[in-house]
Symmetry: C2
Subunit: 322 residues, 2 copies
C-alpha cells in the first residue's frame, strides 16, 4: 500500500458559498477536483431555531448538493422528499411557513441532538457530511451564533428566514445586521487552511454579497486572513444581465439605490479580489473593472454547465497565480 503524501489530500481550493446558486458552483468544483481538494466555507447567518430545532439552511443546501441529494426540480430541499410531517403540522395548527420535509427533519433533529451533546457546529457538520458521503470539507463560517437581521424600510427587524421565507422577501430592505458577528470566532479550520501553502485559490461563488458572503466577512479575522492569503481570490457574479439568477439580490440592490449589475457586486469585494468572472451577457462591463476579468457562461442549468464554469474559474486562478 502506497502511503499518500500530505499534499495529495490537502485542500487546494476554498470556495465561499451561500445557498442554492453558490452550491451549484461548489458542486462543479467538487466534481472536477479530487473530493478532498475542496473546502466550502458556508454562511450560517441564515441559521435559526424552529420547533426547538437548529436549522442551517445554507449548510444543508451545500451538503445535500454535494451529496447529490438536492431537489433539483423544487430548487431547495432534498430529492425524494416526503411531506407528511408538514401536512400533519398544518392540521395541528402549528407553523407551516417553513416547509420542513420529512427527510430534512432528520438532519435538523440529529444536528440539534449533537449540538446538545456539546459538539461544535463544525464537528456536527463534519459528522453529517461523513454519513451522507460528502468528502469535501464543509465549514460553517463560525461555530458561534451569527444571525443576519434584515432592517426593513418601515423599521422592522426581521430574522433572515422570516424575511425570505415567511414574508417572501417582500419587505423593502434598508440595511443588514449580523448580530453576534463581533463576538464570533472564525471556524478554527479556516485559518490553518488559509495559511497552508497548498491552497491554490479562493473562489467566491455566485452568492448574494449582502446576506451570504458579507456575514462571513464580518466575523472578525476572516477578512484579514483572506487578504493575507497569497492564493488569488476570484468572485463569480450572481447578477447576470441586470438580474439575479435566484433570490432577492436584484431587488435588494434596487432598494438600496445601487446599480443592479455585476459591477456593484465586484465593488462589494473590491479590496479582496484578484479577478472577477462576468457572464458573456455582461462582457461590455469588463473594461469598467480595474482587475483581471474572465468572461464566460456563468448561468448553470445543467451539471455540465456547473463543471464548465468550475473549470474556467480554476483556469483563471491558475493564470492569476502565474
Amino acid at each position: 500500500m502506497v502511503q499518500q503524501t500530505a499534499g495529495s489530500t490537502s485542500t487546494r481550493i476554498l470556495c465561499l458559498s451561500g445557498g442554492i446558486g453558490g452550491a451549484k458552483l461548489a458542486l462543479g468544483l467538487y466534481r472536477i477536483l479530487k473530493p478532498r481538494e475542496l473546502a466550502v466555507l458556508s454562511n450560517t447567518g441564515d441559521d435559526f431555531e424552529h420547533f426547538g430545532l437548529y436549522i442551517s439552511p445554507d449548510l444543508d443546501t451545500v451538503m445535500y448538493t454535494l451529496a447529490g441529494e438536492n431537489n433539483i426540480e423544487q430548487g431547495w430541499g432534498r430529492a425524494g422528499e416526503t411531506w407528511t410531517f408538514i401536512e400533519q403540522m398544518q392540521r395541528l395548527g402549528g407553523a407551516t411557513w417553513f416547509r420542513l420535509g420529512d427527510g430534512d427533519l432528520a438532519t435538523h433533529l440529529r444536528r440539534t441532538e449533537l449540538l446538545g451533546q456539546g459538539k461544535s457546529l463544525g464537528e456536527v457538520t463534519a459528522e453529517l457530511c461523513r454519513h451522507l458521503g460528502v468528502e469535501a470539507e464543509l465549514l460553517p463560517m463560525s461555530d458561534d451564533p451569527v444571525r443576519t437581521v434584515v432592517i426593513t424600510a418601515d423599521g422592522r427587524e426581521l430574522m433572515f428566514q422570516h424575511y425570505l421565507v415567511r414574508e417572501l422577501a417582500e419587505p423593502v430592505v434598508r440595511e443588514f445586521r449580523f448580530v453576534g458577528a463581533d463576538r464570533a470566532q472564525p471556524n478554527p479550520r479556516l485559518l490553518s487552511l488559509l495559511q497552508n501553502p497548498d491552497l491554490q485559490a479562493i473562489v467566491i461563488c455566485p452568492s448574494n454579497p449582502f446576506v451570504s458572503i458579507d456575514p462571513m466577512l464580518e466575523v472578525p479575522g476572516i477578512r484579514d486572513a483572506l487578504k493575507a492569503c497569497p492564493a488569488p481570490i476570484v468572485a463569480v457574479s450572481p447578477i447576470v444581465g441586470g438580474q439575479a439568477i435566484k433570490g432577492p439580490l436584484a431587488k435588494m440592490l434596487a432598494e438600496q439605490q445601487l446599480p443592479v449589475n455585476a459591477l456593484t457586486v465586484a465593488g462589494c469585494y473590491q479590496d479582496l479580489l484578484s479577478g472577477f468572472v462576468l457572464d458573456t451577457q455582461d462582457a461590455e462591463l469588463a473594461t469598467a473593472l480595474q482587475i483581471p476579468v474572465r468572461v464566460t457562461n456563468t448561468v448553470m442549468h445543467s451539471l455540465q454547465d456547473r463543471e464548465n464554469l468550475a473549470q474556467t474559474v480554476l483556469e483563471f486562478t491558475r493564470e492569476l497565480r502565474a
Copy 2:
C-alpha cells in the same frame, strides 16, 4: 335553537386506559356514547424525551384511535404514515429504535412547542385533540412528570420505553417504580369529574395493571378519589385464557411468580372494583371472585367487537348501579 342542558354534555363515563388494548375499548365506548359523554384518563408513565421531543405513547395511541387514525395493520402509530424521517435518521447515524413516523413527529414537535410555551400537558392534549376532531375528553393522569422505571432481575433500571421498545420487553422484570409519582398532582379535571353526580360509571380498560393502570393509582389522590366516587368501577381483564391479548403482561406476571390469569388482574384492583368482566374462555374463574362478574367476549378484533364489549360493560354498570 334549543340550548343544551348542562347534563346533556356532562361526562357520564370515565375510562382508565393504557395504550393499544385499552384504546380499543375506549373507542367502543366513544362510538356508542355521545362523544362528550366519555372521558379517558390516560397513563403518562411511558412518556419520555427523545431527540428533545416530549413523546407520550399512551396519550397518542388513545388520541389517534379516537380520531380514527390509528394504524390498524401495524397495531401502533398513525394510519397513512410515511417513514422518510427514520430512514434518513438511520443514514445519519442517529437512534432508530423508536420508530417515529413522519406524521407522528408533527404531534411530538407541536406538543413540545406548546409545553415550552408554558401550557400544561392537559391543555396541550386538549388542543391536539381539538385539531384532530376528538370530542371525548382525553386527560393525562397528571400534568407533572411520572416515569415508569422497570427494575430488571439483573438489577438494571430501565425507562419504560427502553424496556418495551428498545429491549423488546426481553429483560426479566423484578419490580416497577413510578419516579415522581409521589410529588405529582392528579389531573385537575379528574377530581371535579369524579365529584360530578352525572358520572355513571368508571371502566378500567383491558390494560396492563402494572405499567398502565398502577402509575395512575400511584399519583396521590387518584386512588382515594376513585374509591370515594359513588359510581361503580368495573375492570375488563387484559388476560384471556392465560395469555395477554397484547404486550408483555403475561410475561411480567410469570416473572413475578404470579398466576397468569384474570384473577390476578382482579386482585390488583380489588379494593376499587364493583364488578369484573371476564372473557367467555375464562368463565370458570367467575366463582373464585367475591364481586359481581360479567362473562362476555372481550377479544376485540373488529369495530363491532369493540362496540359490543362497550355495550355489555355499560349494561353491567347500569345493573351495578340499580
